[in-house]
C-alpha cells in the first residue's frame, strides 16, 4: 500500500512537471487556442477556406462564445467529471475501511 502511495506521488510529480516545464521553458510562446492552428494548416494546403458550418451555439449567440464563459463551461466539464470520480472513490475507500473494521470485530 505504501509502495503504491509512493508510486502515485512520483507519477503525479512527473505528470505535473511535463505540463509545467514548457510554460517556463518557452516564455515567449502563446499557448493559444490550438484549434486555430489546425485550420491555418488547412488553409496553407488548400488555399482560402471558408468553414461551411458555424457551431450551433455561435450562430445562436451571433458571435463567438466569450472567453470567460468558455472557461466556465470547461470548468463545469471538469467539475462534473471530478465529482463523479471522487464520489465513487470516496465510497470505495469508506467501504474498504468498514470491511476492515467489521473483520476485526
Amino acid at each position: 500500500m505504501s509502495k503504491n502511495t509512493k508510486t502515485v506521488v512520483i507519477l503525479l510529480i512527473v505528470a505535473a512537471l511535463i505540463a509545467i516545464v514548457p510554460l517556463f521553458a518557452l516564455k515567449g510562446a502563446e499557448f493559444g487556442g490550438s484549434d486555430d492552428a489546425g485550420s491555418q494548416m488547412i488553409e496553407e494546403i488548400h488555399g482560402e477556406y471558408e468553414p461551411w458550418f458555424t457551431p450551433v451555439l455561435e450562430s445562436m449567440l451571433g458571435g463567438e462564445l466569450p472567453g470567460e464563459v468558455e472557461s466556465l463551461i470547461f470548468c463545469l466539464q471538469t467539475g462534473i467529471g471530478v465529482g463523479i470520480l471522487s464520489f465513487f472513490m470516496g465510497r470505495f475507500v469508506e467501504r474498504k475501511k468498514l470491511q476492515k473494521e467489521l473483520g476485526r470485530q
Binding site: T7, V21, I42, I45, P55, G81, I84
Partner: protein, 252 residues
C-alpha cells in the same frame, strides 16, 4: 514501482522533453465546418456500427452485473475530466488528452465509443470545440480508433507478460497518440496536398499534432496508471466482477 518501470517513465519523459522547441502549431479535434460534407457523412456512417456495438456491449455488461455501473461511470467521468484539461505542451501551444484508455482497458473498446460521444457532444454543443458536422470524424478518431489501439496494446502486453502498470501506461499513451494520428489522416484525406497528395498532406498534419501530443500522451498514460492504482486498491470487487482481475489472483 519496479526499476524497469522507473526506466520506462524516465525515458518517456526525457523523450518528451527532447522535442524542445518546434513550430507553434497544433490542434485537437477537427473544427466545425472544416470537413467537406461528404467526409462528415462518411465518417459518421463508419462510426454507426461501432456505436451500436458499444451500446450492446454496455447493456450486456450492466445486465450481467449492476456493480459495473460505478466503474463505468468512473471511466466516463475520467474521459470528461481528462479531455477538459488543456495542457501547455513543448511546442508552445495547448492541447488536451482523450482519457479513453481507461475505459477501453476495463470495458473493451466498443463501450468507450458511447462514453466518447457523450463528451464530444458536450464540447461540440456547449463549447464550439470540435463540432456537430465533424462529430463522426472526431468520434472515429477519439472514441473508436484510439480505444481500439489501447485495448490491443493492453492485450498484447498481457500476452507478453509485461508488468500490468507498464501495460496500462503504454496502452493509454499510445492510444492517445494514435487518436491524433487518425485525426491527421482524416484531415489529409479531405485535404490532399497539391504535390504529393494524401501522403504529403498527412505528414504535414502529423508534423503539427505529434510533437504537441507526445508529452500529453505521456501524462495521459501516467494519470491512467494512477487511477488504476486507486481502483485496484479500493475497488477490487468491482474489477473482479467485470473480469479485469482474475478471481483469486492478488494484485501486485
Amino acid at each position: 514501482m519496479t526499476s524497469k518501470q522507473k526506466k520506462v517513465v524516465t525515458l518517456a519523459a526525457a523523450f518528451a522533453l527532447c522535442f524542445g522547441i518546434t513550430p507553434v502549431v497544433s490542434a485537437m479535434h477537427i473544427m466545425e465546418g472544416y470537413l467537406p460534407a461528404t467526409f462528415c457523412i462518411a465518417w459518421g456512417v463508419i462510426c454507426v456500427p461501432f456505436v451500436i456495438a458499444g451500446f450492446f456491449s454496455i447493456r450486456k455488461t450492466l445486465r450481467e452485473n449492476r456493480r459495473a455501473l460505478t466503474i463505468l461511470a468512473m471511466s466516463g467521468a475520467f474521459v470528461f475530466v481528462i479531455s477538459s484539461l488543456k495542457i501547455p505542451s513543448v511546442t508552445g501551444s495547448c492541447s488536451h488528452m482523450t482519457g479513453t484508455g481507461l475505459g477501453a482497458i476495463l470495458f473493451g473498446p466498443s463501450a468507450v465509443s458511447i462514453l466518447g460521444i457523450i463528451v464530444l457532444l458536450f464540447q461540440a454543443i456547449l463549447l464550439a470545440h470540435g463540432g456537430l458536422t465533424t462529430l463522426g470524424a472526431n468520434t472515429f478518431s477519439m472514441a473508436i480508433a484510439g480505444p481500439f489501439v489501447s485495448y490491443g496494446i493492453y492485450k498484447l502486453c498481457q500476452k507478453l507478460n509485461v508488468n500490468r502498470k507498464v501495460s496500462i501506461f503504454l496502452a493509454a499513451c499510445l492510444g492517445d497518440l494514435f487518436t491524433y494520428c487518425v485525426t491527421s489522416i482524416q484531415l489529409a484525406v479531405a485535404y490532399p496536398s497539391e504535390q504529393g497528395g494524401i501522403a504529403a498532406s498527412a505528414v504535414k498534419f502529423l508534423g503539427i499534432f505529434a510533437p504537441t501530443q507526445m508529452p500529453l500522451a505521456v501524462i495521459e498514460g501516467i494519470l491512467t496508471v494512477i487511477i488504476m492504482i486507486g481502483l485496484e486498491s479500493f475497488a477490487l470487487p468491482e474489477l473482479k466482477s467485470i473480469g479485469f482481475i482474475k478471481e483469486g489472483k492478488a494484485h501486485e
